[in-house]
Symmetry: C2
Subunit: 166 residues, 2 copies
DNA sequence: GCCGATTATTTCAAGCTTAAATATTCAAGC
DNA sequence: GCTTGAATATTTAAGCTTGAAATAATCGGC
């Protein structure tokens, strides 16, 4: 995915005409997007491990929970992080084993359990989040705040456009 | 990583002043970037599996090799795809088992092996690549070619900026 | 020619990830 | 109350991923 060759022309299912360069421009954008993501993820993974002994998926789950003091369902976490259900089970299991998050049965529904950060988990996450924000700022420093906002807006609209169709 | 809370202020190592909103804008960009990547990757993985019985990592390796008919070293593949060395070993093993790529010793250096696509591999990849390009074009259709080019350029510069420092 | 450093690759353990299969619970509808 | 279908969560198998350690081959200085 990092590298798809660019020569081919995409045919549109709706039959509308489109310049070859358009599809190439989008493909190039996707490749750059993915390479940027991998670069940032790699950096964050490395530093999380070195400085906090944590992994990126654990950080992600804790970040999701940090925003919701009342807790989240397993399925809410997986939907929010866009990962599979079974995936979250394993990560939460390990976080529970480390005492960073807790499962509790707060509703009458015995299928579901609310996952919350423990006090220890909140403290651990706060430290990591501060460092994390400064890493990102360091790494993306070459992009002005104005450009960052513009790109965010475009990425956001693309996402909701597509979700609407699917 | 998909969700880092935004309130905290990043302190810059170099001591230069920076508006809090700047670091927040970059953090937001990173979150959007990652969510977009996951969305696109998920779509591509799903379709590759459904339509071609292939996986994304295998597609990536084949895409890298497709650009280089003379072959690549294992280390070139892993550097290009920004994944670890050991990772590529396993993926190539499976591709070799499927007859899609081949290892050969073409230089005087017996440590290294050149990896190339087989004829079968080239044919398989060509079909996947055409479909892949149209998927991306479909998914990113909401972004104009002009915007795509602008964003590509900004992402590229950020990347080389950082690589220069590190 | 020998030795230490370097380079290329593989191996391994731990953890992550998905998709599919399974189990459990809930909510209706009868 | 019982059944059925939907929703939720977990388990499983296969594959991906990393980082570190092990292996192997090469290179450079002597």
């Amino acid at each position: 995915m990092v590298s798809a060759p660019l020569p081919a022309v995409a045919a549109r299912p709706d039959g509308k005409k489109e310049k070859e360069s358009d599809s190439k421009a989008r493909l190039r954008l996707w490749i750059r997007l993915l390479r940027a993501s991998r670069l940032i993820e790699g950096m964050a993974r490395e530093r999380l491990k070195a400085q906090f002994g944590a992994t990126l998926p654990r950080f992600d789950v804790m970040a999701a929970l940090f925003r919701k003091p009342d807790g989240m369902l397993m399925s809410e976490i997986s939907r929010f992080l866009m990962v599979s259900n079974g995936n979250v089970t394993g990560i939460v299991d390990r976080l529970v084993a480390d005492g960073l998050v807790a499962r509790s049965q707060r509703s009458g529904d015995r299928r579901t359990s609310f996952i919350t950060l423990t006090r220890k988990g909140r403290a651990a996450f706060a430290a990591m989040a501060a460092a994390h924000e400064s890493w990102i700022d360091e790494l993306l420093g070459g992009i002005s705040a104005r450009d960052a906002e513009q790109m965010s807006a475009k990425l956001k609209s693309f996402r909701s456009d597509w979700e609407g169709e699917a």
